[in-house]
């Protein structure tokens, strides 16, 4: 092995690019090539089946801007993403602060809060569909003595879905914040205490700045997850009632597989990809800048 030249040639500098080759091959075959080949459908009027297709240029993209439903779904996608990002990370942070303290039950608590992460999102949606039953004697209504139509009321449904997603993934954010908290040196806290800082002040001036990397990872993961969210919406409401919870992902799904407009659906998928990429790039840019400024 040591005799083969490419491995040795740059050994004093950086590792050879051959290290990345196996991964690159599999990645190219499974993701890159199919995605590029699939992208081409965005410029056709293909139904998704059969040989019948013709080139239509950019008209699918143009049609998107006149499509009331697709445009409406962009609004829902953004609302849902913002709600999930803010609440999931807020709750995750509070949970992390809670279980970071020296509690007797901390190991159990961590396990409890993280456990939903490992369960299939579709199964979680199935369960929550029951939890969200409008029956006032069962589910969440029965527990809280409420009479809310969680998934059936168009002005509530989107937030109910956000609630379900937060329940499943708050533990994920919690664990990442915990990682950050464990990196905060205890001496810093002690020093701040000696200086007479209160709990809130210590959080604001000692803990919070050091949580920056964890926060950025959390923000990025939950934003991408929120923008691409599909399984949960689809299983819980299928975009309804009416169009109240339709997101870009459900619209592109329906165009392809329910309406038989594969070309148009691919155009929407492209727009979604660009959108997610743009948002992530902005976040990465801020991450870098913050890390540099520290």
């Amino acid at each position: 092995m040591t005799a083969s030249t490419p491995w040795r040639r740059f050994s004093s500098l950086s590792p050879s690019w051959l290290f990345a080759l196996p991964a690159l091959l599999v990645y190219a075959a499974v993701v890159l090539y199919p995605s590029v080949a699939g992208m081409l459908y965005a410029f056709t009027d293909w139904s998704g089946i059969g040989e019948d297709r013709s080139f239509v240029g950019l008209s699918n993209l143009a049609a998107l801007f006149d499509d009331e439903q697709a445009m409406g779904s962009i609004g829902n996608t953004l609302l849902l993403t913002v709600a999930v990002v803010v609440v999931q990370n807020g709750v995750g942070l509070l949970l992390a602060l809670g279980v970071h303290a020296k509690l007797k039950s901390r190991a159990v608590l961590r396990a409890v809060f993280f456990a939903p992460v490992v369960v299939s999102p579709v199964m979680v949606a199935f369960l929550w569909k029951y939890v969200y039953t409008p029956d006032p004697s069962a589910g969440l209504n029965g527990l809280l003595g409420l009479d809310v139509d969680w998934l059936g009321n168009p002005s509530v449904a989107l937030w109910s879905i956000a609630g379900m997603v937060v329940w499943q993934y708050a533990g994920y954010s919690m664990v990442i914040f915990l990682a950050g908290l464990e990196g905060v040196p205890r001496e810093l806290h002690e020093a701040a205490m000696i200086d007479g800082a209160g709990t809130l002040q210590r959080f604001r001036y000692v803990t919070w700045p050091l949580l920056a990397p964890a926060l950025t990872i959390n923000l990025m993961l939950s934003t991408i997850g929120g923008l691409k969210l599909f399984d949960q919406v689809f299983a819980a409401t299928n975009g309804g009632p009416g169009y109240a919870t339709e997101t870009l992902s459900t619209v592109l799904y329906k165009q392809a597989f329910v309406f038989g407009k594969f070309g148009y659906s691919t155009a929407i998928a492209l727009v979604l990809a660009l959108f997610v990429a743009a948002v992530s790039l902005v976040q990465v840019y801020y991450l870098r800048r913050r890390e540099v400024s520290q």
Binding site: K129, T133, N153
Partner: protein, 432 residues
């Protein structure tokens, strides 16, 4: 960083791990290819792949087992999943040019998995030379045929009507099912006064939303104009300017009078089923194919029966919806087209039509002395000859009208739009 210190992996361990990976990959590569044909010389076996929706599991399991007896050389591997996922999976396979040998197909037109749409793309095998296709009743031909050729097998038809809980009716003192719309409203009123929810509606589940309109439209549209579909296709009729308006208004009247459960938009098909099965609600307007689901949830299967929903005020103007049930077709370009068609030919035998129909409480496509008809749908039989219409979507020209119908019904129930707007949206989708 204590992990860093106690994390030691020797080079030997590492290479053992990498070697293990290679061995595991090789092992799976060898073990995972199912033997589709055995070596020459021995009797060869063919494996047919079938992908279907969950409703098809009961009849398919039974008939596939029977086929094994008749033709031991052919195995039918079946898989079933909820409708949406099957639709996605089969359309992807069709799109990539490698469909399963046999797969679910919906009759007529009007959905992305319907016979017309898939046959038009040249992806369904022509079944016209099979004996059973010669006996398809004339009224059902549009569901089975595209340009004169048969592309789908289906075991019969199901009807839409009111599935009701006999005990709940007895408790409220109802003895006979209603025969006019006025009687139907009076019945609901009586049930309501007896403290039971008259109609369970699970409109959170999209396909459930359409059933009440479908139950009424035969009487409000087709009884007056049996050729409505042709006129609509020719652009001479519309949803907005037809009995569809009346049907939607009747739908909303039921809601306004408080005959539905609270929050129908948040109630699922499953909850609807259990409400009727347990007697919390007295009836549900549903398709007869789900009778087995209702019975499974009830304390005894005889608790439930069914009657036609009278959508008109004179009994002779009442028509009913009777549609061909979801069926299956053979892939036109598969490797085993011959064997797949042979299996469908087997399904076309009268005894198998009877078997399938029985498993899903359907009215068999053709009948002989051994055919049984579920007692719950007996009351529909007088209508099936000349006062029955196929499910509306089976004649719709594209796959967008039906989902729009689902969405506008939910919006109507939520009070977000008016009937005018709902019908306008449906007409727009129809015109696409």
């Amino acid at each position: 960083m204590s992990d860093l210190r106690d994390a030691k992996m020797s080079r030997v361990q590492f290479f053992r791990m990498m070697g293990g990976l290679a061995a595991a990959a090789a092992a799976t590569a060898c073990s995972t290819k199912p033997s589709s044909t055995t070596a020459q010389g021995q009797a060869s076996t063919t494996e047919l792949r079938f992908v279907g929706v969950a409703d098809q599991k009961a009849p398919m399991d039974e008939i596939v087992a029977a086929y094994k007896q008749v033709k031991p050389g052919v195995t039918v591997n079946t898989s079933f999943a909820p409708t949406d996922q099957v639709q996605t999976s089969v359309r992807t396979q069709l799109g990539a040019g490698n469909a399963p040998d046999l797969h679910v197909v919906y009759p007529g037109n009007g959905s992305a998995m319907s016979m017309s749409q898939i046959a038009k793309a040249g992806l369904l095998a022509d079944l016209s030379d099979q004996a059973w296709t010669k006996t398809i009743p004339t009224g059902f031909k549009p569901a089975f045929q595209s340009e004169g050729k048969t592309y789908i097998y289906s075991a019969g038809s199901s009807v839409i009507g009111a599935i009701y809980n006999k005990k709940a009716f007895e408790k409220a003192g109802v003895d006979a099912p209603p025969t006019t719309w006025t009687e139907f409203l009076a019945l609901c009123d009586k049930l309501k006064k007896a403290g039971v929810t008259p109609i369970a509606l699970g409109a959170q589940t999209p396909w459930v939303t359409q059933l009440i309109t479908y139950a009424l439209v035969p009487s409000t549209v087709y009884a007056k104009d049996p050729s409505f579909d042709d006129k609509q296709l020719a652009g001479q009729a519309s949803f907005a300017q037809s009995g569809w308006r009346q049907a939607m208004e009747m739908y909303l009247e039921l809601q306004k009078r408080g005959f539905f459960n609270d929050n129908p938009n948040g109630t699922t098909f499953e909850q609807q089923t259990s409400m009727v099965a347990t007697g919390k609600a007295a009836m549900a307007i549903q398709v007869s194919a789900v009778l087995p689901d209702f019975r499974k949830a009830a304390s005894g299967p005889d608790d439930l029966s069914m009657f036609p929903v009278p959508g008109a005020d004179s009994a002779d103007q009442v028509w009913i919806p009777a549609g061909v049930v979801v069926g299956l077709g053979a892939a036109a370009k598969g490797r085993n087209v011959g064997e797949a068609k042979a299996f469908i030919d087997f399904l076309g035998k009268q005894e198998n039509i009877n078997r399938w129909a029985k498993a899903i409480s359907a009215i068999p496509l053709t009948q002989d002395s051994a055919s049984t008809i579920d007692p719950a749908v007996q009351s529909f039989l007088p209508f099936t000859k000349d006062r029955a219409v196929p499910f509306m979507d089976q004649r719709w020209p594209n796959a967008e009208v039906q989902p729009v119908h689902f969405a506008v019904v939910q919006e109507l129930l939520a009070g977000k739009i008016k009937v005018d707007e709902a019908l306008k949206k449906m007409d727009e989708a129809y015109a696409k």
